[in-house]
Amino acid sequence: MSILIAVITLAIISVLFGLLLGYASVKFHVEGDPVVDKIDALLPQTQCGQCSFPGCRPYAEAIASGEAAINQCPPGGEVTMLALSELLGVEPIPLDEEHDKIPEKTVVVIDEETCIGCTLCIQACPVDAILGAAKQMHTIIEDECTGCDLCIPPCPVDCIHITPVKVDQDTWRWPAPDSQHTAPMA
């Protein structure tokens, strides 16, 4: 008899929880895959492909599906890796040695004397930041350049150079005080 009561009780409980779960899945149904959007929003959007994926969004999708690690974005550096680890609740992974510090922001400039107007760089630019036409000299729209350097390899005359983004009084940042031994993360 007591066994019967136990079985019935458990059965009722399981039915109740089943209903609850069913209700929750309807009520809190998630459209689409917002995780990919959230990851994409954290990526620097240089579209450089250094992560081995063709652009930031494909990399975001790869992270979301577990195909890629969170430490494959050199332009984003440690900041992006930490932000991703925070978002996804995974352990931070150190970046490759050459990318372990915040990379300096750069843009490219075209040496307009040397440019032959081949348009190869225009085809390579992921954000259409190069202005020019065939047989015409090209130029970079500095404000649009993301510093991905994808235009450098195709150039037949090596007229594209990397320059650091100029820091002025408005974009200058206060350095962090030396916090050895005293800061909480030390």
Binding site: T146, Q169, R173, A183
Partner: protein, 553 residues
Amino acid sequence: MASPGQPTHCTHGLRLDYIMSRKTHSLWHFHGGLKLDGKKAISTQRPLLKAKLPEQLILPVQQHIGDAGKPVVAVGDKVLKGQMIADNTSYISAPVHAPTSGTVTDIADYPTPHPSGIKALCIVIEPDGKDQWTELKPISHPTNLSPVELRQWVRKAGIVGLGGATFPTAVKLNTGPEASIETLIINGVECEPYITCDDTLMREYANELISGCELMQHITSARHCLIAIEDNKPEAIAILQKRITEKSLHNIEVVVIPTLYPSGGEKQLIKILTHKEVPSDGFPSEIGVVVQNVATAVAVHRAICLGQPMISRIVTVTGEGVMQPQNIEVLLGTPIADLVAQSGGYHEKASKLIMGGPMMGFTLQTDQLPVTKACNCILLENTEEQAPQPMPCIRCGACATVCPAQLLPQQLYWFASSKNFEMVQDYHLFDCIECGCCSHVCPSQIPLVQYYRFAKTEIWNQERERIKSDHARIRHDLRQDRLEREKKEREEKLRQKKLMLEKKKQKEAEAAKAGKEPEVDPKKAAIEAAMKRVQDKKAAQSSDSKPSSKQPE
């Protein structure tokens, strides 16, 4: 010096009636604050000096918060005193004027006073010594003009907030159509140690100051005007009270407030005088208050009543590192080195050059920098001792006790040092006024304010980068769309072409089947006809050998 243990505990909303005031005005307390050694007497012993004309004036095109001015003169131009040399059509901006007559010798990047030491665009003028004014247009009856017109004058004169924030005054005086301004507060508090330029200005230019108050009261339609002065400036208080009584002005009042740092902060002063708090994301005008510095008031008087733009200011040159500390009225663009030279030169132990006061000023690496509109004080310190090595935070809470913005500096420090920029904003980092009280009392001597500045500039940078990456994402998406579209278009064309060829083949096949002459394509026929004509023509030419035939057959 107030030890951290003895911060001036201020009970919230405690009402004090201060007896020294002409009419007793109710005063309140802001949270925290520090009693500091004023050290004001160092620089008030000597009379106000008019600085000599320097050999060269360097004028940064940006001496205000907002958009930088664009030079409206060229190298080699002759300029007159008061002539506009840089301007911007943007709303939040202020023009720059030539402080004396002379020649523009250069327009290029020069070092300007900024904590970064980075150069900025400057216009260099070599004075001709004549000091010849451009044509001035003073307004004889300013009250006949509307506030909008007067604000235009203030803007054209390049006036910015001279308390240090350098926000364009014309913008600040524009309180919007809905705001009804109850109180115009004229800030003569000057709460930072060492600085006495506002004190000097109030004593020397009391009449101009009162005139400026009346003008700004007219512009803002403020019901009454309070001139707030700390009780450590009895002379300035006496002079202003006397002048106000002489003129029997009933809605301008001198309010004496107790000396407590940072009473001169805009938000803190509003709290002291009105017990109201400026909303964190709002402006004082939302609670019916406008605050202007005393020097700004004098500048407004000069702009409207004399027609003179903002070309000079009073600078306190003081500290243990200078031989003859004093106040100097100086043309904008004068090198700091000139001011120190006219103040007896450096003390041999001078080691730190600060623009502003000891609590909020920033250090300069060199004295080859021009005086700008923001420059209220040049402070020279002799400190040989190294900054102490910070100890870990012991959570004593002294910083929170003195914080005038009622923040939790200690929590802000944890989050800023661990680069948790989201949490640091949740704890209201951007309400921090960087007054330095927390660092001053910290027993562990942690450079708290530097952590906050670091976090603020990092957050701004992240914001810039976020905007940039959003922009890049859109451009990348648009490009992908374009490539996709082009690909589709090409495929579509190819498909069409193939389809057409197929149709044609089919038709030919059908025609062959029917046994009829293949139907002549009109296009093909035309081409064949044209070719035939050319052949005929060629034949005709070779037979006639007359090249003149130009007419068609």
